[in-house]
Symmetry: C2
Amino acid sequence: MGSENSGSKRELSERKKQILKAIIEAHIELGEPVGSKYLTSNKHIACSSATIRNEMAELENMGYLEQPHTSAGRVPSEAGYRLYVDSLIDSYRLTEREIEELRTSLRKKQAELDSILDTAIRLASSMTDYTALAAKPRKVRVTVSHFEIIRTDERSMILVLLIGGIVKTRAIRSRVPIGDEASGRLEAILNKKLTGLTAAEITMPLMMEMEREMGADEYLVEPVVKGICETISAFDGGELRFDGIDRLLSYPEVYGGERLRDMLTLFERKQDLLDVFSETEMQTGDDGSVKIYIGRENLVKTMDNSTLVYKPIKRGGILVGAIGVIGPTRMNYSRVIAMIDHLSSGVSNLIEEGDERSD
Amino acid sequence: MGSENSGSKRELSERKKQILKAIIEAHIELGEPVGSKYLTSNKHIACSSATIRNEMAELENMGYLEQPHTSAGRVPSEAGYRLYVDSLIDSYRLTEREIEELRTSLRKKQAELDSILDTAIRLASSMTDYTALAAKPRKVRVTVSHFEIIRTDERSMILVLLIGGIVKTRAIRSRVPIGDEASGRLEAILNKKLTGLTAAEITMPLMMEMEREMGADEYLVEPVVKGICETISAFDGGELRFDGIDRLLSYPEVYGGERLRDMLTLFERKQDLLDVFSETEMQTGDDGSVKIYIGRENLVKTMDNSTLVYKPIKRGGILVGAIGVIGPTRMNYSRVIAMIDHLSSGVSNLIEEGDERSD
DNA sequence: TTTAGCACTTGAAATGCCTGAGTGCTAACT
DNA sequence: AGTTAGCACTCAGGCATTTCAAGTGCTAAA
């Protein structure tokens, strides 16, 4: 209420920044409200506890700090964390050892995107000590670019669909024997008629046309097309995978009791979380940097008290997924950000360079 | 002590059985130790609380009951539960509604085993209110029965492997353009040389022989074979999936604090649980009935206090997986058993009949 | 403008008491 | 001999009370 900035958020004095930063970092480390006295031991702050108290009172007025109760220390508010990650944070330098670990672990899995992602979240979780997750975003337009039919025995075959670089398969069985010639013809027709179409664009007339072209073997068309539609539809739902759910329990203050249950339910239902990834800039143009959602900023109500840090994964400039961690608001931001940044880039490079080399 | 059965487990009197059964069922329902007085209200028991106390004391001597502390009621011991599920339990009859729900939900997913399993565990979890899990057991001998190569563009192709009825794919990219003729020849060679072999049986001399046969395009062999080996090796690890982990929290007495963490870790690591499925009779001959592991009977130490109920899933007589639920020892056995029995059979039928009909 | 000092607030932990449920045992009852 | 009623005893859980320590805001002095 003095003459200086009372509530109006103009600019923070250097000392206020120092104090806020110290409080946040102390709180991240200790998990408890931090008091004025404790801060005097901080080497970057050279004033008495009384002065600090005054500053803290003002910071609280400005909305950067909160007080759980009268006689407790201060705790950073969401606005405080936001300011912190936006302008106060020191960027964490991964150690040589950490970089090496990320590199070698990733290298080993020179396989499909799916297993790379599995490795990546396992890494992310174990190295940050938070719950890690990877998402493949919901596709806007899912189409098959190529069909292939593999005969297994005389009455069954496997349909192979190439959807946006990912292979999906589906077994088709028939009561009567299928001729090799018929399946070959079916394959050709599928490739001619259905490539580039979404499930919604596969119409009855189109199917009837295909049946006509198949002639005597028209009975194959309906089950196959039905299978294709189902597969396409099943594909467009994004995917979400986790690792290190057990680490939520390391933060009982946050994920205790009901909250934990909500969180687990959130992970199980998946949909809400997928929406987070889809609704944000992931779909549209996006600078590809690390994203941070703190507390209420999250679209999912369950996730106040939590922070989501993630970074998109790109292949050939287009978005194919994201990897991140989720944890309590008081997470170790600088370390997590550095990790996720590096890891996501690593995955991107890995799948990118697969296009260039074969090894 | 007395003249009668003191500790020696000969045969239980009818009344003791009634009392034990009543105690177990009351405990399952209420989750609390049950006392002598409470039981007098049970209509199947027609004697005073004092008599019940005497009987309970003897049952405790015999090891079927336990006392948390002196002035608390009795709680069933693991031996008590075991006796209960083996000989006291009334078999639960699913209601028409329940059967209908199982049937229709399963029908909808007329797809691959994987998605059927997903549906099944979701159902199992929601209908029993416990955590459900499905396993595909570790295969003893993993071999590829058929290879197929799909060209996507001139420098990349997709390798399709048919492993025990399941399709696995792998992208292969080359720095130099691959001729159609070359990939066709490679496919033929793979089918000739590698079908029926495990990863361990693919030797260097064999690969060199293939390179010789490929002539000028020998450079393709090494990356492809390497990819095949990796895919086969990755396949043999069984798979495990869950649903309803959040339901553990409904039983805080059991899964509170450290225990919950242990459980989550168990679910995340997967290996230990897979071992349970693999080490039991699943691999060898097996009558295909519902299996019940109570408390310490479980091979995994984390799982005392828990019961695992599962039933194998078979296709054409051979084992392809299992589905079950895991929950506190005091779970509602009769209902869960009936559910899992029905559900597993349903899945078995579903994939079985897929071999007969096409629709 | 900073600092020292002091009175005040308040949650957490410790303590002690009480209650009620449930037992084991003995003695009476059938 | 088996069953029941009665009684003394035990113990966990709830409740109120106290104590403690941390931390604050404010005032007055430097």
